[in-house]
Amino acid sequence: MNAQTRIEPVEAVASAEPAIRFEGVAKTYPARGAGGAVSALCGIDLDVPRGSVLGVIGRSGAGKSTLIRLVNGLEIPSSGRVVVDGIDVSSLGGARLRQVRRSIGMIFQHFNLLSSRTAYGNVALPLEIAGVAKPEIRARVEPLLDLVGLSDKRDRYPAELSGGQKQRVGIARALATRPKVLLSDEATSALDPETTRSILDLLASINRELGLTILLITHEMSVIRAVADHVAVIEAGRIVEHGDVFDVFTRPKHETTRSFLGQESGRALPAIVRDRLRPEVQPGGSAVLRIVFRGPHATDPVLSQISRELGIDLNILSGSVDEVAGRPFGTLVVGVPSDPATLSRVQVFLAQRGLDTEILGHVS
């Protein structure tokens, strides 16, 4: 094997210590001019396990960028610690901080490529900054351009590249110093869905093949679903829900999480049902029940069982079977006769089989 053109996987460190750890982190931006102080983050405790992809989702202004910028010391916490690879980043400054930053790659929503440099020149920049010698830079940049599929765009300026190609250059640049951690601040938010998909696939393969830990922030559940192992939902500077992607997708606890899941597969109601949905019981009508099938139950024929064993016929309103984090899960929205006795028999039956149900409302 040609040692020069190989991209080394990050060596596994034999410790259970997370790649990134937030310990009781708060960040308050001081008052400036007429505006008062802004509390951007509050009581953040969060671990990003080594080699994993953690997605942080939240609305605009929730504190996502502040959170990610704490990791490479672009912001300093007002209290608490941010520990990256065993090093308390928040206590560093000057040359030591700059050195640590070289082991943390970062990609941005608007790519932030130098317009005056070619694709090659942009990827070479962090190496020049680190004082790497010219031949060595060459030996590292070429395989990186290869990795992101841009060898043929080597001498193109950013103005001559598409958004997706620019982000590929951004990714190659972030990997140039062989970081252990990659930070992604809304890296796909400026891209169309198809390009987003290809960039996320690239990130997922980098995570797999180089063992890189990725912390990414987004406002789209589809991004979380495509690459993340774990998800944290952030709202007004606090983490309101955190867990395994499959669990959060199939058993969202917080209202904010539910609303982010709103348009995700299986959760969107057909218009004809949505428009007729009422919060109060409709006499003689049906309750609309969502049943979530997780993992091994995803394909259970429960509807026919209910019909056979309880003698209750359910009216299927919508349904889908899908996969999240590599595990199947299904969603079925059914109409159940509204009278309380029938409804509760159905719910008990489903609960006994480990299925989650949620009453969405009632239709006449």
Partner: protein, 226 residues
């Protein structure tokens, strides 16, 4: 109108004066750039919370720059005569003119460079910081290269202004085209010499401007080139 100015003597005078002007402008532009460029970078990066945060120095320098720029050039020329004499040993002639020209142009260049640097997308500075770049590396590898097309336009503007100022130092015995225009055109009533001087200045300005524009466009990779 006579055709006297076509005589070899007059043409020789104009040629000499043109060379004097070019020499004066080139030298003062070069020195003003050497001074103005770093000052401009400093002005753009030393505000509160910026790369080389030094708000007091920033304000002080800003004041000096503003004061110099608001002094009418002709007053500046006279006011710094002792300084000029100290520096070049004389206060008249082409060599002496370079001193006030440089002093007038340097703050002008500084302000224009400051503007050009401030136009650089803050995201690029952020990216460079995230890479572990030092403030100096950010200036040399990001800010100046990214601002270069705008800096070239700024310097073009400064050179054009210097051409105008250099004609003015003629009034105080500075030499060059302005001097020729005043002495022959005005004091000896030779309007055709005056006209020729003006034509030469117009041609020079056009040349400088179009060269600057072309160079800036060539450096600007934000535009798609065919």
């Amino acid at each position: 109108m006579s055709l006297d100015f076509l005589s070899p003597v007059i043409l020789g005078l104009v040629l000499d004066a043109t060379l004097d002007t070019l020499w004066m402008v080139a030298l003062s532009a070069a020195i003003a750039t050497l001074i103005g460029l770093p000052l401009g970078v400093f002005l753009a990066t030393s505000g509160r919370g910026e790369l080389f945060a030094a708000p007091a120095a920033n304000r002080a320098l800003g004041f000096v720059v503003n004061a110099t720029r608001s002094t009418p050039f002709i007053i500046l020329v006279v006011a710094i005569i002792p300084f000029t004499r100290l520096l070049v040993g004389t206060s008249i002639g082409t060599k002496a003119a370079i001193v006030p020209l440089t002093i007038a142009a340097a703050p002008f260049v500084a302000r224009l460079v400051e503007g050009a640097i401030r136009e650089v997308d803050a995201g690029l500075v952020e990216a460079a910081r995230a890479m572990g770049a030092s403030p100096l590396q950010i200036v040399l590898k990001v800010l100046v290269p990214e601002a270069l097309p705008a800096i070239v336009l700024s310097l073009t503007l400064a050179i054009v202004s210097l051409l105008g100022f250099s004609a003015m130092v003629g009034a105080v015995g500075g030499g060059g085209l302005g001097d020729l225009g005043i002495r022959y055109g005005y004091q000896r009533f030779m309007p055709d010499v005056m006209a020729l001087v003006v034509v030469v200045l117009i041609v020079l300005v056009q040349l400088v401007q179009s060269t600057g524009d072309r160079l800036s466009r060539r450096l600007n990779k934000r535009l798609r080139h065919a």
